[in-house]
Amino acid sequence: MPDSEPPEIVERLVGFGHALRDEGLPAGADDVLMFCSAVAELTPSDLEDVYWSGRTTLVHRRDHLPLYDEVFRRYFLGHAPPPGAEPFAAEPVSQGLSSTLNVPDSEPGAEAGDDRPMVLGRQASGVEIRRDKRFTECTSAELAALRRIMAQVRLEPPLRRTRRRRADPSGARLDIRRMARDAMRLSHAAPALHRLSRTERARPLVLILDVSGSMADHSRNLLQFAYSMRRAAQKVEVFCFGTRLTRITPALDRRNPDDAMRLAAGRVLDWDGGTQIGASLDTFIRRWGRKGLSRGATVVICSDGLDRGAPAALESAMERLSRLCHRVIWMNPLVGDHADIPPSTLGMMAAGPFIDDLESGHDLASLESFAARLAHVG
């Protein structure tokens, strides 16, 4: 900071940094210092210079730009419009999805509407009697136990080969570079053979959970499953959908499972509503999938395939998804223990050709065995 700068301006600029921090925008002390130096360098003639200096030094993410604009407006201008009211290219948000919340009454488990999943820790009530044991029949004590066990499921994520190589005595490729180096250092002794092989990394895993009315019996447990996956492996992304798609990955990063679940539940606005699988998957592909989130990934869709949207939309979304990712796994609780007989819902018939593996996930045993097998299906 040059001495010529009057200290009031510095105070004002630092105050702006604090105002941003108060609004939750992470402007560190070094960022604020940078901001002040930038303003000093430019010797601003008007507020627009201050605006752009701050925008380039204090903001590190595009998502923070609207917040920055808002705070800037309030701090420097009262509530007047911003100086550089730039038309920020808005990201395509919810692609005109129909938001009608049809609770399909012809579907099993629809009567569970009184079981608000926001109130976690309570058990689902009024479920129909089924032959084999499912989550919905557990008492709350059993559910707590399930949650504990699920958190302990040691997840082995599927691996993929990378372009990097590492030293490996049984590798397929000779490390010429290292051999030449050795040959020169060790005068002319016959060089030992060094070998290389490709390194392996965890494949990204994307979980897309159906939380619509027909899945109400399972959605909470799937959420817990997603939570334990997220805790157990790196590179796990979790999305929920009913009629619209919500990314809940950040919410699941809480240490306390109940907190994580409550936060995630709070983010999803369409619990127990209708189902628009095609439109939701389409949103996923456009907003996240195409940008690289699903490239080389194992995508797991957890849904019963009871769809209120057009089958053609689901079919085209599945086709694009299958081209973008490494493997599509569909977990359908309706499959039950008969994984060889695919359920004959319209949604499953439309999606069928693009599914690599059909899993059940209707009870704990099947979820556990799925987690154990995941390393090998990838």
């Binding site: 560190g28 070094d30 960022d31 940078m34 130096s37 930038a38 360098e41 430019l42 627009e48 210079d49 752009w52 200096s53 925008r55 380039t56 030094t57 903001v59 590190h60 993410r61 595009r62 730009l65 550089g84 730039e86 038309p87 920020f88 290219a89 395509p92 692609q95 005109g96 990378t162 372009r163 990097r164 010429i176 570079r177 030449a180 180096r181 040959a183 020169m184 002319h188 592909i285 456009r286 195409r290 940008k291 690289g292 989130l293 490239r295 085209s316 694009r320």
Partner: protein, 297 residues
């Protein structure tokens, strides 16, 4: 290391905009401000934005106006220090050793010569450090490289010096101007972002884009340019999987120019749509609406 900015740093944002303009690049005030601050304070500039909005072009034009050398490092998955920094030319060293042993030259100079500049293959980052402020270092599509490389880059961008064990430490006498670009296929590490000035390049407004077409394709007929830009702007509003960037606008103008068309009507658009839309699903969507896309503004 001196923090003195090179003498040719523009005096004001307006001057930088003017210089870039003469090089054929229309920079918004925000972009020019970020760049000027980066030049003055010796900080890298991180440009993010959709595909084809001129991130890479910006670095090229910066090199051009400052009379600097453009050093480009294209990132890709698995890139490592050998491809980014330097590598010894082992094959040549071996041949040299053979030649030395045959002529039985064993003095110390001959051996140390093995690790001299003759045998060092410079990669972009080392070249940039050597060139200092005479260079613009473009680190393109950093989001494609993996995390390990990002961490390595972090170290380099803070010190601008590297250590080659056989030679010693090479430090930049003055900082090169560093421009990083990212298509945002993944979130970059916060530590790297903190080292950089951040600017998001969005799609230009109608008037800005007309101006860009005028600058980059001066031969294009004005009315054609206006129609193409209007059509592209409408396409961007059409909820496509891959909306066209500025590069596509310019390609489209060029494509129509090659065909000698002075007007953009539905048949002409249908013939040349491949310059703008490069996704089959998008194509199907657009094909049903050619008349609306090319309608008069």
């Amino acid at each position: 290391m001196s923090d003195q900015p090179p003498s040719e740093t523009p005096a004001s944002v307006a001057e930088l905009q003017e210089q870039l303009r003469s090089a054929g690049y229309l920079a918004s005030r925000g972009l020019a401000t970020a760049t000027l601050i980066g030049m003055r304070l010796g900080r890298p500039i991180l440009l993010e934005g959709e595909v084809g909005v001129g991130k890479t072009e910006m670095a090229k034009c910066l090199a051009q106006i400052g009379g600097r050398q453009l050093i480009r490092l294209q990132c890709y998955e698995g890139i490592d220090t050998y491809q980014a920094l330097y590598e010894w030319d082992y094959a040549r060293q071996m041949l040299h050793v053979r030649a030395l042993s045959e002529s039985e030259l064993t003095d110390a100079g001959a051996v140390s010569g093995l690790y001299g500049p003759d045998f060092l293959i410079e990669r972009p980052l080392l070249s940039a450090i050597r060139a200092g402020s005479d260079a613009v270092l473009l680190i393109d599509e950093i989001d494609r490289a993996d995390d390990e490389f990002e961490a390595f880059l972090l170290e380099l961008l803070s010190d601008f010096q590297i250590t080659i064990p056989e030679i010693g430490t090479i430090a930049a006498s003055s900082r090169p101007l560093v421009v990083l670009t990212s298509n945002r296929t993944r979130e970059l590490h916060d530590a790297l972002k903190r080292r950089c000035l951040y600017h998001w390049i969005g799609y230009p407004s109608f008037d800005e884009e007309i101006e860009i077409v005028r600058l980059r394709a001066p031969d294009a007929v004005e009315t054609l340019a206006r129609k193409v830009v209007a059509a592209v702007q409408r396409l961007r509003g059409m909820d496509l999987a891959k909306p066209p960037g500025i590069a596509e606008t310019l390609d489209w103008v060029d494509a129509l120019g090659v065909l000698g068309t002075d007007d953009l009507d539905a048949p002409a658009a249908a013939d040349t749509i491949g310059a703008v839309i490069k996704d089959r699903d998008d194509l199907e969507l657009v094909e049903t609406e050619f008349d609306r896309v090319v309608a008069d503004a």
